[in-house]
Symmetry: C2
Subunit: 215 residues, 2 copies
Amino acid sequence: MKALIVYAHPEPHSMNAALKDAAVGLLQHHGVAVQVSDLYAQHFQPVASRDDFLQMENPKRLGYSHEQRHAAAGRRFSADIIAEQDKVAAADLLIFQFPLWWYSVPAILKGWADRVLSHGFAFTNELVFERGMLRGRRAMISVTTGGSAEELQADRRYTGTMDEFLKPFSGGVLRFVGLEVLPPHIAYAVATMDAEGRTRQIDTYRTMLRSALAT
Amino acid sequence: MKALIVYAHPEPHSMNAALKDAAVGLLQHHGVAVQVSDLYAQHFQPVASRDDFLQMENPKRLGYSHEQRHAAAGRRFSADIIAEQDKVAAADLLIFQFPLWWYSVPAILKGWADRVLSHGFAFTNELVFERGMLRGRRAMISVTTGGSAEELQADRRYTGTMDEFLKPFSGGVLRFVGLEVLPPHIAYAVATMDAEGRTRQIDTYRTMLRSALAT
């Protein structure tokens, strides 16, 4: 089995880093080959543009999805996109480790989806959801929040719930390309968590990963 | 009255560009002073990092929100953030013009929110929603989609509705900082729109903007 962790946090001493490291350790312990796309360390460039294509079908007018479709046929994407697509293609399990920023994924991770999960690689007009091109793989979100569980589970303070805020990425992006999405790991209120709370949270995450591996 | 259009599309011949230009024209015709943040043309850098702070309160460990709070007091943000914050502060009306990519805003616009709408500038722990620091201003989303109105309004094909997909940005980000959010302008299925359809859509948008100015 192979796993890819797409990790989007700038700080090596963060809870996100600790969760990413815990996942690497646990997966390797269970014989899983793990790759990490450390988007900050890679200086991943998240802005979709004409530079993403080695050759454009219509250089006069950038139709991004249109160019993706043409580029996918001959793998004529920029090298950074090809590298990420190859990692995705090789993985049985994709884990997304990120902090919830502004009700969503950080820009660097949004750009990973915009550029890497391209038309012709991850889906076509016909191949979506159950027939999406990444079907047969599973995906799991592991997210940290500033808000507390009380606030974010029951629509207090933030005008909505975590389910709603994660839906565009998990129910949308990930399922659209055919991934089977596992229940998310959510670490609430990490900024005010003490060392013991962190350890407990990491244990919870390990348990979730173990049960994902067992099924 | 002053307006700021935050515009996130790479192609000058796109429907998004036409809508942005239509808004500039109409607003100026009505005596509104318009600024445009053309994020692609500005090469706006969307990745939140320690480079966003001229001086860090804790250089050993990046706590992004924590550093934002400290930077806001003395405007110790990088120059590109200050420039955007000044445009926001000066505006009575904020318009966000973007294509719906992967159920959400493009990465370059997500990064604008991550970096510009900072703790201490747009909100504090106490000053959120009705008390948000950008209160007294109005905001409007103008978004284009690939999917059709039939698909996106009634939960067909995409497992959800436009209301749900726009909620994290409009009901979340924009309202959290105190903005009064006007009904969105949504141009569906723009890739397959002919010239006449485009003209009609731009007229619809103009009508919405006129009615926003009249109230």
